[in-house]
Symmetry: C2
Subunit: 278 residues, 2 copies
């Protein structure tokens, strides 16, 4: 693992690191905030998965998570959203496919499968590195994310209910397999057999019996992607048919940007901290 | 005035605007955060002046001021650091001169004087526009800034002790007329007669009898510009010979970045709010 930068902030350390990823078959970059409490004891870990076009840096710069994470003693892990590098397949004029658009799945189709293994990267390879490198209590992990990263957080929590004690999302894509901006990517990454798409789709996972105790979702009602891309009501409808709990908060006037995310970031950190313990 | 963007955040409105500046003889862009309290009453104004290479956007994206400004009811005004445009003089390979390096002074020398009138812009033209456009209580203004912007905040407060009720700075350049990274710019903007430089130099202003009641300065001790560029002890030494008060806080491990600024931003907002009233 290489240290790209380590900077003191809010009494803790905001680091950026890179490593050779076996899953993605390329060098991957990620950000980790370590709170001051980690000097004394292992701290719980909150994963933040970012949205389309983002890298690790967007939330690190604009997410406004450090003040309260330093108070609550949370390690915040912010991975990249796709494999990177000159030999990684891409569609240069399509921001919904390829680099910046990994959709937290393991691609099976050429030319994508060679590098686009973000599901294995996020659920296997990177957690092992985080657990081995930082003073992290891996028995206490939560997961959140924004938009495509909200999709990642919901689907991964539903697949790993024993690993994650808490899950939330900002404006998540709840049913990517049928949304305009994600279904084409799913077909290219996973092929035309839509039965293989269901394990990467939060609504389908709930319909197929996956269980996670409770979710928090914040959604802005001035979000331009709400009607055709995000459609959180599909998740609400699926959850209503189960024993699971969903706290769904809709916010007048808020859009899809980090001005929205940062406004509610501290509520999410509190949500996770209450479930992860201090 | 043109609206570039207006986005809801933390219950208030983060806006970006542009206008034709008479002082700078070009189009200028600035950011204003309006807290939710402005719906009910005029709110006090805190000016934030940015450092070398910055625009209005750096602190808007990374400064983490909105959460507490929305709670305290502060309007935050973030101007650009220089005139902009294709016909504005510049030194393309020198980040300490020209665009992004206006030093909050009125240039007298060619080719700079045609546009580089940032002192008049910040002290006359933009306040008039803010007062006429936003629900701002211009009887309650404070001023802060970072690095070159800290220089701007200190010098402008010392020149306008009746206008500003509070002044603070993050890692300010306290004596730009003798610092490596600013003295060459002063000579180009103002000419070789150094007596004209003193009104744009905080230490010189104090030596020459300017008075402001009290200052708050935060400085990181891992700041790479501390020894040759910033040298806050020169301001401390000048202040000690007067009746003025200075709260000087040095912070181990902190650098010159927005990770430092954002760590102490809320302390500064409280400092100003206590002196401006709610």
């Amino acid at each position: 693992m290489k240290v790209i930068s380590e900077v003191t902030s809010h009494g803790g350390m905001q680091g950026v690191y890179s490593h050779e990823s076996k899953a993605c078959n390329c060098e991957m970059t990620f950000a980790v905030f370590v709170p001051p409490q980690a000097i004394e004891r292992p701290c719980p870990v909150l994963w933040y998965l970012s949205g389309l076009t983002c890298t690790h840096a967007n939330v690190m710069e604009k997410g406004e998570y450090r003040r309260l994470a330093a108070e609550l003693g949370l390690i915040i892990v912010c991975p990249d959203t796709s494999p990177r590098g000159n030999d990684v397949a891409d569609e240069l004029t399509n921001w919904q496919m390829g680099k910046g658009a990994g959709f937290y799945l393991d691609a099976t189709e050429a030319p994508w499968a060679e590098h686009f293994q973000m599901y294995t990267y996020i659920t296997v390879e990177l957690p092992a590195l985080i657990g081995a490198t930082f003073r992290a209590d891996m028995q206490r992990q939560g997961i959140t994310g924004h938009s495509m990263g909200g999709h990642g957080a919901l689907t991964i929590a539903l697949k790993y209910p024993d690993r994650f004690k808490s899950c939330s999302a900002f404006a998540p894509i709840v049913q990517p397999s049928t949304a305009d901006w994600s279904a084409p990517a799913f077909e290219k990454y996973l092929g035309p057999d839509q039965s293989t798409w269901r394990k990467y789709d939060a609504v389908s996972l709930v319909e197929d019996g996956a269980v996670f105790p409770e979710f928090l979702i914040d959604q802005g009602l001035a979000d331009g992607f709400l009607q055709t891309g995000l459609r959180p009501w599909l998740f609400e409808e699926a959850i209503e048919k189960t024993e699971m709990k969903l706290t769904m908060r809709n916010h007048e006037r808020y859009d899809h940007s980090y001005y929205f995310i940062s406004s509610f970031m501290e509520d999410h950190l509190k949500w996770h901290s209450e479930r992860l313990g201090k």
